[in-house]
């Protein structure tokens, strides 16, 4: 099987005043086209560094990051990003915020086609009628939805999500999980999701990768084959409970609280 994203043997260290600080050491990751991989691990283990590598914002010291088989050496426009902080531009309307990537990425779409696309995406996430509002007039969940639309408007091959739902309350979060499934069904993309929430990982992803503590390596991979959008009730099945137990155990190992042999 060919993979859209392939990360092999990546090592990386940040240069600090106190000498190099290794963050990644032996990271392997492969995401098939159309796949959705969740990456979990202890705090500060280098998960966000991983997103920068995939986006081409950072070149690893060793190892390789490949998209479609070719090494990533610089940012490429085929990536969309959303963060925990929705970072909308306060001086623009929601519609103009969503259109931002199309002002930078070359596109064949005419102005009106671009606008139609942005409006379509906004309606998919339930933001119809909010196109002309300012970000400050929207709730946290709505801002995050707009941020997702912005990440998808230029039809990126890869959607990178760095804890996008981390700052939201539990109900809003579950809402957005379901919206993610709907978006994926209508706007196919290959996803990498960084998260601290194991339930979020098994609800959204078809592969969960557990990273070890810093410097991070790929410690464990859990495959969760799924057909079509999951029902939120899935989280309350015995199967899900079992998957959560496995992941929780792996996290404890990553945190160094349980010996790996146990």
């Amino acid at each position: 099987m060919t993979h859209l994203i392939e990360i092999t043997g990546v090592r990386h260290a940040y240069r600090t005043a106190k000498g190099p600080l290794p963050v990644l050491d032996g990271l392997d990751l492969a995401v098939p086209e159309g796949g959705f991989t969740a990456v979990v691990g202890p705090s500060g283990c280098g998960k966000s560094t991983l997103t920068k590598l995939v986006a081409g914002l950072l070149i690893p010291d060793h190892g390789e990051v490949r998209l479609h088989g070719s090494p990533v050496t610089s940012p490429r426009a085929t990536v969309g990003m959303a963060f925990q902080n929705p970072v909308l531009l306060e001086w623009r309307s929601i519609l103009k915020n969503v259109l931002l990537p199309l002002e930078i990425v070359p596109t064949d779409l005419s102005k009106s086609q671009q606008e139609d696309r942005a409006r379509h995406l906004l309606s998919l996430v339930g933001l119809e009628g909010f196109e002309d509002k300012r970000p400050s007039e929207l709730s946290g969940g709505m801002r995050q939805r707009a941020s997702l639309c912005r990440a998808l408007v230029h039809q990126p091959e890869v959607l990178i999500l760095d804890e996008p739902f981390g700052a939201l309350d539990a109900f809003t979060r579950e809402d957005l999980w379901q919206i993610m499934h709907q978006l994926k069904a209508k706007e196919p993309f290959t996803g990498v999701l960084i998260t601290h929430d194991l339930r979020e990982a098994i609800y959204l992803a078809d592969q969960v990768v557990v990273l070890s503590g810093r410097p991070a390596r790929t410690q464990y991979t859990l495959d969760l084959p799924q057909q079509g959008p999951r029902d939120i009730a899935h989280l309350y099945t015995a199967e899900a409970a079992e998957q959560l137990a496995i992941l929780r155990h792996q996290i404890e190992i990553a945190q160094g609280r349980t010996p790996a042999a146990a």
Binding site: A55, G56, P75, R76, F83, N85, V87, L100, I104, I160
Partner: protein, 253 residues
């Protein structure tokens, strides 16, 4: 603007003038101790042409100094906002320069550029007012959340595009906040030059002549004229802020 937005400040001003008048009347102060608003009307009437020409001199020199401060302060703020090294290098110099009372700089400048009164006055107005602008622009740029850059950089945007699309508009509210401070500072600078190094121009000179002639109502009238010009310039800045950074103004509640 609604009726309320005009009526409330106007009423406050009238009440202030009434209280002032009442205070002088109750205390029985002669006008050389404290002029009352009713003393000012004849002073304005008598010297009206002087107020117009000298007020204009003060105004244009203040605005010229302020425009220079905006250009120089923004450029300096950009340099310090984008480069840590430049920030570390320039900050102590700037703070030191700003700490020098400008009244001590006036005679130095007056000696350096003898006879160039307009230039000297603009220079002092500029020197006193660029600091807040430089600091606010540099802080606005250096505190830009990295995610903003990442979003655009990941799409392959150049540094110039990032500056134009994000850094510049995001800094505008801080910039206008500083400009409001700088407007009044520039006025102080202009008048400092006009009063400390008199050369017969500007409202400062008119104030000075009031002093030498013991025309106390004239001195008070100059103060009121200065306050009036200050209010006008301030609200011009507020209007510009509404146009260019109105988005930062959130609806209350």
């Amino acid at each position: 603007m609604t009726f309320r937005q005009i009526a409330v400040p106007t009423a406050a001003m009238l009440i202030f003038l009434l209280l002032w008048e009442a205070l002088v009347w109750i205390m029985g102060w002669p006008n050389y101790k404290m002029a009352s608003p009713s003393d000012l009307v004849p002073a304005f009437e008598r010297y009206w042409p002087l107020f117009l020409t000298m007020g204009w001199q003060t105004l244009w020199r203040t605005v010229a100094g302020l425009v220079l401060a905006v250009i120089f302060g923004t450029a300096l703020g950009m340099i310090m906002g984008f480069s840590r090294t430049m920030r570390d290098a320039l900050y102590p110099l700037l703070v030191g320069f700003n700490a020098i009372p400008k009244a001590t700089v006036v005679p130095i400048v007056a000696l350096m550029f003898v006879g160039m009164h307009d230039f000297n006055t603009v220079l002092i107005a500029f020197m006193i007012s660029f600091f807040p602008i430089a600091v606010s622009v540099s802080i606005g740029l250096s505190t830009l959340e990295p995610e903003y850059r990442d979003i655009l950089r990941s799409l392959g945007a150049s540094q110039t595009t990032i500056f134009r699309k994000i850094a510049l508009p995001k800094t505008l509210p801080e910039f206008f906040g500083a400009l409001k401070v700088s407007v009044t500072l520039a006025f102080i600078g202009t008048n400092l030059m006009e009063i400390v190094s008199p050369h017969g121009r500007g409202l400062g000179a008119l104030f000075d002549s009031g002093k030498t002639n013991s025309d106390y109502p004239l001195m008070f009238a100059v103060l009121i004229a200065l306050a009036f010009l200050g209010i006008v310039l301030y609200y011009i800045v507020v209007a510009l802020e509404k146009i260019f950074a109105g988005w930062a103004d959130r609806a209350p509640g």
